[in-house]
């Protein structure tokens, strides 16, 4: 079941479009915000609200890298792997993250704290190398700075 709050938020964003299905991506982000990820069951529930088939909605859900179709950690780390960050030391940064967290790209720590994902250019090329944790952007990274940042998350 979707919660009343989820339904209310989805209905509100659907008002922005002449057809409800256009709100698909935003609806999926709404439920993801509340639940952390989007299960098969949730795709069906959201599709019902948007009056479309769950297959159609899943085709959209699987297209975008920010719709998580598997559980993720409490915090998602997006480490920029595009050209400017690559020049400025992406390899060193990502290896430090992997070692510190004890996981590879696409994996979640055993305590469910962090998921580590590579991401295309974060548009922070003037502060490369860069990463985002949840909605927070961090630039000019080095090993020491990363350790401090990680320590500030529960």
């Amino acid at each position: 079941m979707l919660t009343e709050q989820e339904k209310k938020e989805i209905e509100a964003v659907a008002e922005h479009y002449p057809m409800k299905r256009a709100a698909g991506i935003e609806a999926l982000k709404i439920v993801q915000k509340h639940r952390g990820w989007v299960s098969d069951e949730v795709v069906t529930l959201v599709a019902d609200v948007l009056e479309m088939s769950s297959t159609d909605l899943d085709a959209v859900a699987t297209f975008y890298n920010f719709i998580f179709r598997r559980p993720v950690g409490r915090h998602v780390i997006l480490v920029c792997d595009s050209v400017s960050c690559w020049i400025m030391g992406y390899d060193t940064i990502v290896n430090h993250l992997k070692n510190r967290l004890g996981i590879g790209l696409g994996e979640t720590t055993g305590d469910g704290r962090f998921t580590l994902l590579p991401n295309v250019c974060l548009g922070a090329c003037d502060r490369a190398p860069a990463m985002m944790i949840d909605d927070e952007l961090y630039g000019d990274l080095d090993a020491e700075k990363i350790d401090k940042i990680l320590a500030s998350y529960d």
């Binding site: 922005h16 479009y17 002449p18 057809m19 299905r21 256009a22 709100a23 698909g24 991506i25 935003e26 999926l28 982000k29 948007l50 479309m52 085709a59 959209v60 297209f63 975008y64 890298n65 920010f66 719709i67 997006l78 792997d81 595009s82 050209v83 400017s84 690559w86 020049i87 400025m88 991401n119 295309v120 250019c121 974060l122 548009g123 922070a124 090329c125 003037d126 502060r127 490369a128 985002m132 909605d135 952007l137």
Partner: protein, 424 residues
């Protein structure tokens, strides 16, 4: 030197709120338009200003608007879509404008919507621009409250609703017909053209498309006129440009400068030159999908025509500076991994071709390339071209590669011959 786009931007501080923006002369362009000008007059002024699209293609903005059918009998609502999906690697200029002065963009949107008589506008924003989304949402609310958006704007009879649509990733959404599908709630694959979006766009209705930076210029053109706007530039294309530099320069950043400054001026005067001990070897002038230039090209002007004459494109105008200790083959391998991953998979040359090219480059980078690989790469740059693909993604991916094969063929050969990366 007048710098209209960034005149209100105060780095490190929040953007101007509506009242502050008005005190700085904001929304006067809009007031002038609604009180004195017909929609066609607005388009004519923009045409005369020689404003060319800042998303990368450089198409004259006024001409673009003139393709939108006008009159009582056309299908409605018409739409105006603002492409704020800035996902071209190494590009961060639209973020700077949206975070720095959101009302400038909103005023430009209302004027542009009036010019094409659009009733609904969407800002299509990329997922990771969280700060920009918060500042735009606040500014949109303020604009509604003041009567700049909604019904009967400033008593003119013109109506416009503006919505922020935040995407969920994928580079292909920046392609305008893929973006249309994304907004309609479908998989973001490109559409076949014709019909073109100005005539048959969002939900089949006429739809104008513009980049964020392009639209931010519009209020200034209206306020000060096309002659003033053309005079801001050092070349026939009107206005200023947000240029940027990243890579191992002393002061990476973005700056508003007259259109047509040279690469050298941006690199040496604004980015502070190269870091100690490094020399510039190559430049990606306007994002990942532009042809590389070399240290020989530093005096080329960064405008649409000059860059084209030099064999590249202005693109987004935010350049990547590649130093002499960075491996060009490794860099291309990074770029091609990006393009192959971001292919939407809709057409074969892109879906299959880019992966193949990426694999060859990775093999060469790691010392496992074969002499014939260089010809295979060249062949792909000749085969994956506009006209053979649905959209410009894959042909764009070939631009840095084809230029690297011209200027830096020896780098490829050394990797293959020495069976390792000589830069590591």
């Amino acid at each position: 030197m007048e710098l209209p786009l960034t005149q209100n931007i105060r780095p490190g501080r929040p953007p101007l709120n509506l009242a502050e923006y008005e005190n700085a002369g904001g929304y006067q362009g809009l007031r002038k338009v609604l009180a004195q000008l017909a929609p066609e007059d607005v388009t004519q002024l923009v045409l005369e200003s020689n404003l060319r699209g800042r998303g990368g293609a450089g198409f004259p903005t006024g001409r673009k608007w003139s393709f939108v059918p006008m009159g009582e009998d056309v299908p409605r609502p018409k739409y105006l879509v603002i492409n704020a999906d800035e996902m071209e690697p190494a590009t961060f200029k639209d973020r700077f404008l949206m975070e720095g002065d959101p009302h400038q963009l909103i005023e430009g949107i209302i004027i542009a919507a009036y010019a094409v008589q659009a009733g609904i506008s969407y800002i299509f924003l990329r997922r990771v621009y969280v700060t920009a989304s918060q500042r735009l949402e606040t500014a949109i609310k303020e604009a509604y409250a003041k009567g700049y958006l909604g019904q009967n704007i400033l008593g003119s009879g013109f109506n416009l609703d503006l919505y922020l649509h935040m995407s969920a990733g994928r580079y292909i959404c920046g392609e305008e017909t893929a973006l249309l599908n994304a907004l309609e709630g479908k998989r973001a694959i490109p559409r076949s053209k014709p019909p073109f979006p100005p005539v048959v766009g969002l939900w089949g209705k006429p739809t104008a498309f513009n980049n964020v930076e392009t639209i931010c210029n519009v209020p200034h053109i209206i306020r000060h006129g096309p002659t003033w706007f053309r005079a801001l530039s050092r070349v026939p294309d009107g206005g200023t440009k947000i240029y940027g530099a990243s890579g191992k320069v002393r002061r990476p950043g973005a700056w508003e400068l007259p259109m047509g400054v040279t690469i050298r001026e941006i690199l040496e005067e604004h980015a502070g030159g190269m870091q100690d001990g490094l020399a510039v070897r190559a430049i990606l002038p306007g994002g990942a999908s532009t042809d590389m230039l070399t240290a020989e090209h530093l005096d080329v002007r960064m405008d649409f025509n000059s860059m084209q004459e030099a064999g590249s494109r202005l693109g987004t105008g935010t350049m990547v500076v590649i130093d002499d200790r960075t491996c060009i083959v490794g860099l291309l391998s990074n770029l091609m991994h990006f393009f192959a991953q971001e292919s939407c998979g809709w057409c074969t040359p892109c879906r299959e071709g880019l992966v193949w090219v990426a694999k060859i480059l990775k093999a060469i980078e790691h010392g496992m390339g074969k002499p014939e690989d260089i010809e295979h790469l060249r062949l792909h740059t000749r085969l994956i071209t506009l006209g053979r693909t649905f959209c410009a993604l894959a042909p764009g991916a070939m631009e840095p590669l084809q230029s690297a094969l011209i200027y830096f063929e020896d780098d490829f050969k050394r990797h293959i011959h020495e069976k390792r990366c000589p830069w590591r």
